[in-house]
Symmetry: C2
Subunit: 95 residues, 2 copies
């Protein structure tokens, strides 16, 4: 049997943020020291900061691309599962 499927390159977006219950000093500081002194506090209610990674990965389909990147982030301990949550999505945020 000849396999004709070819791998393509996918752009996978990773967001590493503090867990929901945890404090977020960076977001709190932006809100308190910038936003709340500017007039934007009338509409801007909360800011949470995080780390963003765009990973270019070769895979047969979106699902495989996502799986590879999740596995990589977990195995290489790119984030701390005790403190952070990981969000992985394929190519949502435009270049």
């Amino acid at each position: 049997m000849l396999i004709t499927n070819k791998k393509a390159t996918f752009s996978v977006n990773v967001v590493i943020s503090n867990k929901k219950g945890a404090r977020d000093p960076e977001g709190e500081t932006i809100l308190r020291d910038l936003v709340n002194k500017s007039g934007f506090e009338k509409t801007v209610k909360s800011i949470r900061a995080g780390k963003f990674l765009r990973v270019e990965v070769e895979a047969f389909d979106e699902e495989e691309a996502k799986m590879t990147v999740s596995k990589m982030c977990n195995e290489l301990r790119i984030f701390n599962p005790a403190a952070h949550k990981l969000s992985v999505e394929v190519g949502r945020i435009a270049d």
Copy 2:
């Protein structure tokens, strides 16, 4: 005339990343010192790092929410337009 439209809260995702031509020491280090020593280098070809902010903002619609956050990031100089590019999207990455 009675205006019945009510404001809702939107979750706006902001990504601040280095401009395309610019180097990205953080992403390069993750790729070189973690990924390339792990076996993932067979499929993972590039990593670019950035800053992520999730902003909760009150607005009448998605368009207004996005506009408010873009304006805020520009006016408060949350990023450096000479070095970084800004990407603003409404509620794409799940909580």
